[in-house]
Subunit: 349 residues, 2 copies
């Protein structure tokens, strides 16, 4: 099988790689800066500064730096991960990328629109001897087959986009490893790819190859360990549900963890679509997963409680536990110990 074009070795230091300056641009809200935030959370030692535009409305909480300051502080690569609908760079972003290259930074991007498709960026990189890396350039994979394969797999699914699926998956990896269980995070999005050093940018894959891409990402394993597959989108999001369904089928998961942000008013980007009820959402995901994995079980609910009023989180978690009969935790605030307890209880070695 072909070596994936989209699998950087983020820690190599050759060409692009850490230390990173995180490009926040004019991110209008916290969610728009989720790539930078995720990197700073899971790889703080790699992230030495952030670059924000004049209209930026969020912060990662690390030092603001110009491109020149970042280079002086030892930064190697600018990470461009600000998400717009459609993943397109605006003119200001292009101008900033060009400035960064001239200042001496390599540039890595997770946007749909490739750095390497933009003549001015390509010319500048060439003239300055800098490296461009597009994390959303997908590898060539076969189509999905849904065949039996060894190993155990967990997939995170969500009520919506951007509800904490990657955080939950990484937290489960950390918890399983702490317990001495072999476990590997399998990245399906730009941020995860920067964190894991490899992965498949699933939303950039050609539609016929969604499930095949996931089969490639998490092939059979026979060491008794777990592949922990990062979910994407939601079966209930009209823009992206196709990706979520192909991911369910390709993952062939033994276990699902449902991810949710309590209090969200509507589906992300779509004020006319309500967030689904948890029980209904979970049942639809289990039902869809059963096509390739008839014995799939749910083992927990991970919530992102960061926007809840203080004191509400415990009540919300208890209500979800009572409703679904599953452990419910906030991976950032509480960890995922009880979810992993349930996982290993349902699916022991």
């Amino acid at each position: 099988m072909a070596t994936p074009q989209g699998t950087p070795s983020a820690a190599t230091g050759q060409g692009w790689g850490p230390p990173y300056l995180l490009y926040i641009g004019n991110a209008p809200d916290h969610l728009a800066a989720k790539t930078a935030r995720g990197l700073a959370h899971w790889r703080p030692q790699w992230c030495i500064g952030q670059f924000r535009g004049s209209e930026c409305r969020t912060t990662i909480g690390i030092p603001d730096m110009t491109f020149e300051q970042a280079v002086a502080a030892g930064a190697n690569t600018l990470i461009v991960g600000v998400a717009n609908a459609g993943g397109v760079m605006d003119e200001e972003t292009v101008a900033h990328v060009v400035q960064a290259l001239r200042a001496g930074l390599n540039v890595a991007s997770g946007l749909h629109q490739r750095l390497t498709s933009h003549p001015r960026i390509v010319e500048t990189a060439k003239a300055c001897g800098r490296t461009l890396f597009d994390a959303r350039e997908p590898p060539a994979t076969p189509v999905g087959k849904g065949l039996p394969r060894p190993g155990r797999r967990l997939l995170t699914v969500g009520t919506d986009c951007s509800v904490g699926k990657m955080y939950a998956t990484l937290a489960i990896e950390k918890e399983l490893r702490a317990r001495g269980v072999a476990a590997d995070f399998r990245a399906t999005g730009q941020t995860g790819i920067f964190i894991a050093g490899r992965g498949i940018p699933l939303d950039a894959v050609i539609a016929d190859f969604i499930s095949g891409g996931v089969e490639w990402l998490a092939p059979g394993r026979d060491d008794g360990g777990w592949d922990l597959i990062e979910g994407q989108g939601s079966l209930f999001h009209p823009s992206y549900a196709g990706v979520s369904l192909g991911l369910l089928h390709g993952a062939k998961p033994d276990a699902l963890v449902l991810c949710h942000e309590p209090g969200r008013a509507h589906m992300r980007g779509l004020p006319h679509y309500p967030v689904p009820e948890l029980a209904r959402c979970l049942e639809k995901n289990l039902d869809a997963a059963r096509l390739t994995s008839p014995n799939v079980v749910a083992v927990g609910v991970a919530i992102n409680g960061s926007n809840l009023p203080p004191g509400d989180a415990a009540r919300v978690r208890a209500a979800i536990e009572a409703e679904l009969g599953l452990p419910c935790q906030d991976p950032v605030a509480d960890g995922v110990g009880r979810i992993v307890d349930r996982l290993l209880q349902c699916l022991p070695n």
Copy 2:
């Protein structure tokens, strides 16, 4: 919105266009030659011959011709539509395309692998002054929004791939037009694009843009007419279900027609997956469609009875009608008059 790159005007005669020589290659069975068969069925006046390889196991039933004979008979374009898993050209196909170009034919292809990505083909076309056209080069579209839009839309869905969704959709267009109802076939696959002269190659679209591509293909209309959207894949096919789900959401259909090939032993290409029961398949499709189109209804079942033993078709149709309470017809053998009756009864002007 950008002019789609994937919308040929098949009847222009400029560059590529009819008359066609249909490339069957070494198609191992009837289904593998479905692009050529579909073109010959729906546009017989454009198809003057077929080219078959030495190991071909099917025929379209039109005269066999060499490339030179086809040119002498007036052919303008070789249509390459033989489907392999993954849509890749083998070496013999490449050699044939090169021969055809040298003989004086333009070449149009519906395969995933682009003619324009193959240096030898590109060089030969350039040297011979011939046109290459890749029907699977998708247009740039926005992501799906699931917003209300005017007009009425019907989508064909299937128990499996290659069960007659395109034929059913085209037959419904013909029947509605014969009754004086404005109706337009909206192509989502290679064959449909060659037949309609425009469309979107949905399986070649980037995963995040599946539903958005369908919204682009069938935007709002206010003439009281119907958009008849060609379905793809099946919610029950582990390789391609993501495409089918995004298509359901983007189509926002008022009506579904379920397509099925009775007697098929298993899902196409996957001997370990059974074909779903009709009632279950239809209910899952209606349920999934309701996310963007809450009032969607089923108006009929279209079967491909071409492989049934003589005399069985009527019995099979009657059994399906009794089970589902919907008109069931074979579009090729019986037309779709009763399905269209039901459509216009459920959704009058």
